[in-house]
Symmetry: C2
Subunit: 694 residues, 2 copies
């Protein structure tokens, strides 16, 4: 039978989680010994491995399963590219300065923090339970700053107006944020001083390329432009066919005004972006039917505009048919994003899709939904899924003169008829000299209707055309107007782009919050219940004896796991087995196997205890001498091949036992997700023996 | 029997290879539609996949097999870090300017190109065969510039002096390069103008961090500092034990003065770096014995200093014992680098290890060997393997005050005895007032010998101490000198660092040159013989019919490959099978399987030809109607499970045939490297049937 576990015995405690992540070096502030730099973090061995697994699963779920074309483009980008894309003009946040100290604060964050803090104070004053203190506020408390919410009761209308403002916050422009600061008397909470009017601050890091300093460049704030600029090559690679998607995983940079503590708002981050190129006249998706029953939690823009944050549950099939989500392709990717996040371990009950409001949307987007994950810092945008329409390809094409279009052979050529003006240019030049050009231009610009009327006049002889008051007599030998048939067999168009864009650091941090808990019996014993697919290490190998002569057996188990594609680590440190398991619970290692040199033989002799008295090892062949009851036995490696190993599951701490190869096969199936722990328990008997011999 | 192939029927042609890499989008100049930026390249789908596989194999070969600790640190770095590391002062190249046009040229490249070009001209004048034109020169020719080597005969002494200069080129300082320009009258080959004296140009890209512009930062030019700054955390993660290694794969930036064409000298690149921390007093390596017989091609610094480039072959065991390579750890990593490069497909006959000369070495290194790979552009440094000693940890520790040291419990505490001065400070103060301090400082600074003599004098009563001409009378109640025993049980030291540093783009490009060839019968048919381990796609699935009803079978084969962990792609384009295979030879795809709907049944009926007359497919079950001789047969999917598939090997173009599952198993073994093609041929019979039916 499986043990029952209670993961919610203790309320979530961010301080404990942060301590664990620091202690186990998941990540740490970069340049810490130099005092650190806000918004820059380094990933240690556990964090790097977790990130690598999140990326590997992403690659499998999106690039491999959907046959996407992967790219790896440069970070350093000449300024002209971002001038065209609009980033130089518009990729900015609004900042205010403390009127006296000059300290810089991001305007929307200031309004949010101050109003939220007043609402907390109001709840306290009304004797209601206040919401848990925010991370930002905690940090500030540590720094002995003055943001502590005072227990001041507010008028009911004021509360209502704060709440409405907060629900719409992402929708306000800079000047509107300035007005809010004046209206609500929002001041710098650290000093109590007033703040200046919001100014725009461009978030791109600037540099210059080459030794002369004449070529300005920026570090990309997203990977997307690299896809768009390579569109023609990608289309050719895909045999000229559409739809297709490109995908890229890489570093991007944003010079945030006031980075928050932790991985949620940083200045350098790894992102994964997909650009799916689609026919603007047909945004259906060939695999939509496979996804249409996936139910998502949606927060649409109308609800938010009315100052509300209530969500609805709806299948994407229904959402598309009701017009809640703009088209099949956008909805298809939302469902795929949802499935990916669940696969790596995000709690579906703390995941929603929020639609951007009109003013909030990036300058290029026509519709956009963010996958938001709930953390102790509130709902965090982790994946954006935007329909960028034809914006990017159009502007780059216009700027460079390089056509970024699809040319598609029409199955049915489009046949049209229209009137065409045919000028005898030689005669025209001879007749009108320097005026010939003006006249030609005029005639060529005429619409169908004007041409028809001219045709009729010419059929009756000559006619006059007046340009700027000057008349020209036109005769049929100068101009003939005829009806012609046109056959268009190629359709040329600029594709639209649907862009799912993943902030991997935010996802990684949210995942750590969702999987962290403390054991019921001991709050100090933290566990990260990372799913095997992303856990940094899948199996911990714990040799109960650290004697060198046992190394060959440990190596053999280790090598068998490697061959099965299961990443294992040996922990041969000199601490107790309990401490080793506790450390690995904190590292999120889902399974542990114990090679117990005593129990192996015990198992072989139907669990009758025996005593190891001697062993020799040479050339990886080792011979054991055992006392078994009254008998002395000598066993060689061959006899051990069917020996046993115990298997421990992290969350339940259940232990099972079985022959080494059976345990390895079971773990392999568990890690690959083809069986669950209940099935593993059916395969392997429970182990409750004594473990240590050393 | 296997076909014989001749890969060297046609001489290597860089123009053809470049055209192939461009056509198949391995990589392309970044921002091409904006006119491009020198030294920046984007990887397309084939290049990205090749790079990802090179990285995956690197991770396996180094991080997994050696149990290294992976890191992922930031690119953006505050200036203070690079001030400490010495990069702000010294990470520079020498550049000269054209005295008239102001064009910027890297000084050492200028000298190299001009002298090499004169040597080529000399050979032509002497009627000897000139060495193949260099890539640089070709490019310049394209641009109609004036570097063409003139056939001018040189004096024998001049030739000798040019050759000596070229062999030592990496050893010259900036002023020395300036002298060479004057001595040899080196001018800008594009204009014929003289050049200015060499100036230093720092290669780091500068930026600034935060909204106030007050925090200067640089993009890292190497990942190494990120390892050093996290040393304490890494040591703790490794339970305080040494040696251990950290490893990081990531982007770095160098603002090269004059980037060369192609991937060999770029401004943004992916590198993989290992920092192996080792006891400075014991640079042996625990696994050295596994590697000691690996034979490397070595070019040591003494040979180069004497103006020579002749190499020797030597096992690393011998090289270390003879002092050619400084220590076991350095040599161990050189051997591991060698094995890695061979594994991914680098030709061992075009690989050597060149030792840095004294002036050439980075400011931090005590010994350094580059793995150089021979390409059409000469020998290219692809991996540096340096002993950085304790330089980095020492300077960062001194700057920040944060100890970056190992504290090791000594097995045998070190017991020492020495004389110790014990002052009665109270009496001392009372007696000498303001002079007490000076006196105390003086006494505490005395060496063992002086203390002994003082002790002797005090044993006879009082004595005098003179400081700056002033005498102080010291009595035994003021000062006692005693012999004490000290026991040191902790050894504290700054570890040394051995750093293998890989330029992955250079390795990738060299690999493409080493694996490229044209078919003997047709120079237009290029092949990239990439080993399966790095090939972007392992198996091409070629359905001979594009009828939709066959999709389920294609999907089944595809899914079986996925389950076996073998990355496959389906090519269902409408071109001939020959063209599809030719395309995939260019992409380096090692295997192709053909699902030939005719031959399947032919095989089932002992290769007697049959005719497909009809089929229906519903719910993935399909039914075929066949004419077999005089008989009409109906077959369902079940009957097809044992049907056959042909397997094609890229290099030999051999085709074999077998049941679908056998072919999949064979391909899996081939891709994993557990069997070779000869073994595959023993398993599967040759196929020489007719293929197409559609």
């Amino acid at each position: 039978a499986m043990s029952s576990i209670n993961k919610s015995a203790h309320p979530f405690d961010k301080t404990r989680l942060d301590a664990l992540l620091n202690r186990r070096f998941f990540y740490a502030p970069a340049f810490e010994i130099y005092g650190g730099v806000a918004g820059l973090y380094d990933y240690g061995p556990s964090g790097s491995a977790l990130q690598a697994n999140i990326i590997a699963e992403w690659r499998k779920h999106f690039i491999v399963e959907e046959g996407m074309l992967e790219l790896d483009t440069t970070i350093m980008t000449p300024a002209s590219v971002f001038e065209t894309s609009g980033h130089v003009a518009r990729f900015a946040d609004w900042m205010v300065k403390d009127a006296k100290t000059g300290d810089v604060i991001r305007a929307d964050h200031l309004v949010k923090n101050v109003l939220e803090s007043r609402l907390v104070g109001d709840k306290e004053a009304r004797g209601q339970v206040a919401t848990p203190a925010k991370e930002d506020e905690k940090d500030k408390k540590k720094k002995k700053k003055a943001t502590k919410s005072a227990a001041v009761k507010l008028e009911d209308e004021v509360v209502k107006s704060y709440e409405t403002t907060l629900a719409q916050l992402d929708n306000f422009s800079g000047p509107e944020l300035g007005e809010l600061c004046r209206k609500f008397d929002v001041r710098n909470p650290d000093t109590g001083n007033e703040v200046t009017d919001p100014q725009e601050f461009n978030l791109m890091f600037a540099s210059s390329i080459g030794p002369t300093g004449q070529h300005p460049g920026y570090l990309r704030p997203e990977t997307a432009q690299g896809h768009f600029l390579n569109f023609s090559r990608l289309l050719e690679y895909n045999n000229g066919r559409i739809p297709f998607a490109s995908a890229q995983i890489g570093r991007s940079f944003r010079n945030e005004i006031s980075p928050r503590a932790g991985l949620l708002r940083v200045r350098e981050f790894t992102m994964a972006e997909i650009e799916h190129f689609v026919d603007p006249e047909d945004k259906s998706h060939p695999r939509f039917k496979d996804m249409q029953d996936v139910v998502l939690v949606l927060l649409d823009r109308h609800v938010q505009s009315s100052g509300n944050t209530s969500t609805i549950k709806m299948s994407i099939g229904e959402a598309v048919s009701k017009g809640v989500i703009a088209n099949q392709t956008l909805a298809y990717f939302m469902a795929r994003i949802y499935l990916y996040l669940l696969k790596i371990g995000i709690d579906p009950d703390r995941l929603r899709f929020r639609q951007h409001m009109a003013n909030e949307m990036a300058h290029y987007a026509t519709d956009c939904w963010d996958a938001e994950i709930q953390t102790s810092s509130g709902w965090v945008e982790c994946v954006g899924c935007a329909d960028r329409a034809a914006y990017d390809l159009t502007v780059h094409s216009a700027k460079t003169g390089h056509p970024l279009v699809v040319r598609e052979a029409l199955k049915q050529p489009i046949v049209t008829e229209k009137e065409v003006a045919e000028l005898d240019k030689k005669t025209l030049g001879r007749t009108f000299k320097q005026d010939a050009g003006i006249l030609q231009k005029h005639i060529e610009s005429l619409e169908e209707e004007a041409l028809l009327s001219l045709k009729e006049q010419l059929s009756e002889g000559s006619t006059s055309i007046f340009i700027n008051g000057k008349g020209f007599e036109i005769t049929p030998d100068l101009l003939r107007i005829e009806r012609r048939t046109f056959k268009q067999s190629i359709r040329e168009y600029t594709p639209n782009v649907v862009e799912p864009s993943f902030g991997l650091g935010r996802i990684l941090y949210s995942l750590l919050e969702h999987t962290y808990w403390s054991r019921e019996q001991d709050i100090e014993r933290g566990v990260l219940s990372l799913p095997p697919v992303v856990a940094p290490t899948k199996v911990l190998i714990v040799p109960l004896s650290s004697k060198e002569e046992f190394d060959p057996l440990v190596q053999e188990v280790s090598s068998k796991f490697r061959k099965a594609g299961v990443f294992s680590r040996v922990d041969d440190s000199n601490t107790s087995i309990g401490k080793r398991y506790a450390r690995n619970d904190e590292l999120g290692t889902p399974y542990g196997v114990t090679i117990d040199f005593a129990c192996e033989y015990r198992d072989m002799f139907t669990f009758v205890r025996c005593l190891l008295v001697d062993f020799t090892a040479e050339n990886q062949i080792f011979v054991f001498t055992l006392i078994f009851g009254d008998t002395i036995l000598t066993l060689s490696k061959t006899a051990l091949q069917n020996s046993t190993m115990t298997l421990r599951e992290r969350d339940t701490m259940d232990q099972r036992i079985g022959p080494i190869d059976d345990v390895i096969a079971t773990v392999t199936d568990l890690v690959e997700g083809s069986i669950d722990w209940a099935e593993a328990c059916r395969r392997l008997p429970v182990y409750d023996g004594v473990q240590a011999i050393d």
